[in-house]
Symmetry: C2
Subunit: 157 residues, 2 copies
């Protein structure tokens, strides 16, 4: 951190479209799998076997800052990356962690109810649906585990 508050704003005098950067962007754009950095690394390595994981992370950060892709902070410990930079919601499979787009338009009035009710200046929201993907819906054990994870005991101790 070079002490100007922004995370790297001294870079990018002129940006180069390297092989690595292009392939990362292409692979994110040409499918819709919302991969983790590591999964994308595996995909990109088929075309560029010598690329490093650090390069993948660095380019994902740069492409996000440029608005070419978006970095998703969904539930789960790993970040996901989306080749579509426009805001949209996602749905996560509770059993296999697959992520898909949620076919629903942005809810721009969601924060209206909060105006005046909170001391915060509200600037947006993050919404994520959870459920079971088709494959896991067909799996009885996956359904059982999912339902169990939603049930909270919450009885007096």
């Amino acid at each position: 951190m070079s002490g100007n508050g922004q995370k790297d704003s001294t870079r990018c005098e002129r940006l180069r479209m390297t092989q690595q950067r292009r392939v990362i962007l292409e692979e994110l754009r040409c499918n819709n799998i919302h991969p983790t950095a590591d999964a994308l690394y595996g995909i990109v390595r088929k075309r560029l076997p010598r690329i490093s994981l650090g390069t993948v992370y660095r380019n994902l950060e740069i492409l996000t800052a440029l608005g070419e892709i978006q970095t998703l902070e969904l539930s789960g410990s790993q970040k996901r990356y989306d080749g579509v930079p426009q805001k949209h919601y996602h749905i996560r499979c509770m059993h296999c962690d697959r992520i898909d787009d949620a076919p629903i338009a942005p809810l721009n009035t969601l924060e209206d109810e909060l105006y005046g009710a909170t001391v915060y200046t509200i600037m947006g929201h993050r919404l994520e649906f959870v459920g079971l993907c088709p494959d896991c819906s067909d799996n009885a054990e996956a359904r059982r585990l999912a339902e169990q994870s939603l049930a909270l005991p919450a009885e007096p101790y």
Copy 2:
């Protein structure tokens, strides 16, 4: 991992209310700060100076499984813990990461629009508001940074 698929379901023949567990629960209940594990560790250590961070994590996991508290996976890399086990939404300050309850009732019809529109079996949603807390709202630099972080360039490369 002892090979039964569940994460520790073999424990809890009889659960003990130890000093450590009680203090952790009390400190989560008596205030509303949604601390990280490490922040809670700092708080609890004032009363139990010899407690370890591992014990804090272990008890947070157990108390969550019991439904006594909830573990929040909000944006940001660290988990937060909430002494109120009932589902409710939260709002996060984009500048200082303070978390408060969002004064809005659960939106139980949110997933209705998705029925039939997705191949997933929808089972719930996670919603989080983002904005600026009162202190950071008063801070011009915080406001500038927050607005800047919301603006996506998204121009052709």
